[in-house]
Symmetry: C2
Subunit: 433 residues, 2 copies
């Protein structure tokens, strides 16, 4: 949608409907990589409001200027399978930070020793959840190379989340370069070549740091990238067991921000997840609305494979257009790959579908497979959905490790990530040594 020029003396009804999307348009165009609208007269959210909106002609992130300060206290790489020590996530030796102010824009990126951040007790992020993040992995390939998987997708989504939560805009390609720069330094040591098939988890994060209790968009922010260890989650014994979401907890809603990777989507869901885990389930299957539309499984996208009533094999997943669910990179990739490679066998359907449709397919013997997919859980077979006192058992294939399509798509994506095949989605890190 094009940015809307709203002379302050005119208020028509239509313009009153889109405050959030207008603000997003203004933010993206005034950052102006496209020669777009930067005229203060016609974009009302630009200079005159004085509350932290980024202005044109400020410094962009410039990854080519990065400064390097290497650690003097290198730490040991944990043994395979260890990802936390005393409840703390293990990180690599370094991190990248980039400061931003509304006045000057982005400062020089710094690669420096991993360590604590200093934040005033009044920092925006600690009160108003002005925070967003990304998650992607670096994979040590069986060919010895280190790869990121589609980091351009994560960088683009990071921008979209940042704008949604009133944090600054940036050029996504520069963030992608910062990801590669961190892995170029820490990759060789922390994902050694003698551990092919292992991964490290990258977490780009952006937080509002202004020391200001007024409820407003922060005028100072910090972007940082850390590289951490994380358990392998994609093959729980017996498959992932889901508990449908309770009536007393809605994860996301139309007109909300379910599509964005902002902190506000996570903290509020912990309580229901904790209770479901205490009851023996792995994640919540988040339903939406009185019809019980299936949306996400935990913090992953959710998929079923069934025979339609007409006998067609379909992969069904929630659509993106109502912005309830995250536009997952794994989701997008597996839909693409299935469309490319299995179009004669299976139809990809992105549409709203209800838990009752899933139950009915199960009762009629049409439910073939189900899985959750995302960076953390990769492609994780779902074996059971518990809904309002009923258990829906889902076939887990001959090996008990997932249905055939689930395993097929997992293999195809894994082969790209770990360099068993050459594919443009696998971006090779140029390591330092």
């Amino acid at each position: 949608m094009a940015p809307v020029a709203v002379p302050s003396t005119v208020h028509d009804g239509e313009q009153d409907l889109d405050l959030t999307s207008s603000a997003i348009d203004h933010r993206l165009t005034e950052n102006d990589h496209t020669g777009g609208n930067t005229n203060g007269q016609t974009t009302l959210s630009s200079n005159e409001n004085g509350n932290g909106v980024s202005q044109p002609n400020l410094h962009e992130i410039n990854a080519s200027k990065i400064t390097y300060t290497f650690t003097k206290e290198p730490r040991d790489v944990p043994p395979p399978g260890v990802h936390s020590i005393d409840g703390a996530t293990v990180a690599t030796d370094h991190m990248i930070t980039v400061k931003w102010t509304a006045k000057s824009g982005w400062q020089t990126p710094e690669l420096k020793p991993y360590g604590p951040l200093s934040l005033m007790p009044t920092a925006s992020v600690l009160h108003y959840a002005t925070e967003c993040f990304e998650g992607l992995k670096a994979y040590r390939g069986f060919d010895g190379k280190l790869r990121l998987f589609r980091p351009d997708c994560n960088a683009a989504r990071f921008l979209s989340s940042s704008v949604r939560i009133s944090l600054p805009t940036f050029e996504p390609a520069e963030v992608e370069k910062l990801l590669l720069a961190l892995m170029a330094v820490d990759g060789p040591k922390w994902l050694p070549r003698d551990r092919p098939g292992s991964f490290i988890y990258l977490r780009p994060t952006l937080i509002g740091t202004q020391s200001q209790l007024g409820v407003q968009a922060p005028t100072e922010a910090l972007l940082y990238i850390i590289a951490t260890f994380m358990p392998i989650l994609h093959s729980p014994a017996g498959g992932m067991k889901l508990h449908t979401s309770p009536d007393d907890m809605v994860r996301a809603w139309v007109g909300g921000f379910g599509y964005a990777k902002v902190g506000a989507n996570y903290g509020p869901s912990l309580l229901a997840t904790q209770e479901a885990r205490a009851r023996g389930f792995g994640q919540i299957l988040w339903l939406y609305g009185s019809q019980g539309y299936c949306t996400e499984a935990g913090a992953s996208n959710f998929f079923v494979i069934w025979k339609s009533k007409e006998g067609k094999t379909q992969l069904v997943t929630a659509p993106l257009d109502d912005r309830l669910i995250l536009d997952g990179v794994t989701r997008r990739s597996l839909l693409q790959i299935i469309r490319e490679r299995l179009s004669d066998e299976i139809e990809v359907v992105e549409r709203k579908y209800t838990i009752q449709e899933v139950i009915e397919a199960n009762e009629e013997g049409r439910l073939l497979e189900s899985f959750a997919a995302g960076t953390a859980y990769f492609v994780c077979p779902v074996s059971l959905i518990h809904h309002r006192g009923q258990d829906v058992q889902i076939p887990m294939g001959k090996t008990g490790e997932g249905g055939p399509y689930t395993l097929q798509v997992k293999k195809w994506l894994g082969d790209i990530m770990y360099g068993n095949v050459d594919h443009p989605w696998g971006v090779v890190v140029q390591e330092e040594h």
Copy 2:
């Protein structure tokens, strides 16, 4: 509601509906100040899930054990009207911090110099918005005394928010004592007796500090209380102007957490607020649902006073029972005081009401007054509501500073806060010197 014992082999439909409320019940009863249910066999969310739920018999906050470390670099009190320096909120010399771990419970409260917090880049609060806060003021009375206004209400709500966002439980009365302790030390200097009628803003905050990227309830947290300066917001020239919320932004929803003072309610709303301000409005009037129910004005509760069609004078505001809105201390107090003192003139009505009802009352000449109320904005008259191209003008009284009922309730509450009258809601701080 009593905690529900759920044997793990039985899953009935009814128990599937209340994951969040069950978890809240478990958290509150296992903290057990009441001799309630602490039997691990019957409260499934207690010990066995190992993910940060507080356990019985851990250390409680004990305000009587507070340790004092006074600043060696006292700062200057800002002149009246100054509340920020270089965009940073001015705070007093000291703050109070209390650490918590799932293993040991609450540590000894410390009063110490105000200064930065050190958080690992993996800290829960920076990623998953595991954060909640309170806001209340300390008032320098015209009788020279320093008072808090109903701090017990804030402390109780702080607990409710903390549980909702998977942070630890505590004894609210101890937090109230910590508030008094901070003001006992910093009150005399920062709210000097020669500035009667001034206030300071207290911000108790609780954040998840565990350095862990796993999406889970944090096992480490930090409670802190700071005292800051804030502008006087309750009398904007010409009254507060509201813009109704757009279709593309819902603040809170049934099954959400609109009632809790958690960061996740604030960050996501900044964008629409910023756009509304750029268009000349002070705050958003948040509507809910396709009917357009009036809920909150900005981060304040919202009120209209009208003549009903039957000719009764009514004060109308949204109800608490669907948990969409914050149970405001100012809201609660003014409803109580109007019921006590004006019951023969005005009927207090807590019910759902739509923007169309407000517009209709205006068109029929029945709309008398409107105001927003909360700690930050106190009782702030509303002069205009802009909805879908229409302006609803609201009478601002003879003086132009608000309608007569608005000014009356503002005076009554202000008199209690500033000690013009003696009232149990005004809790006097025993100052150190």
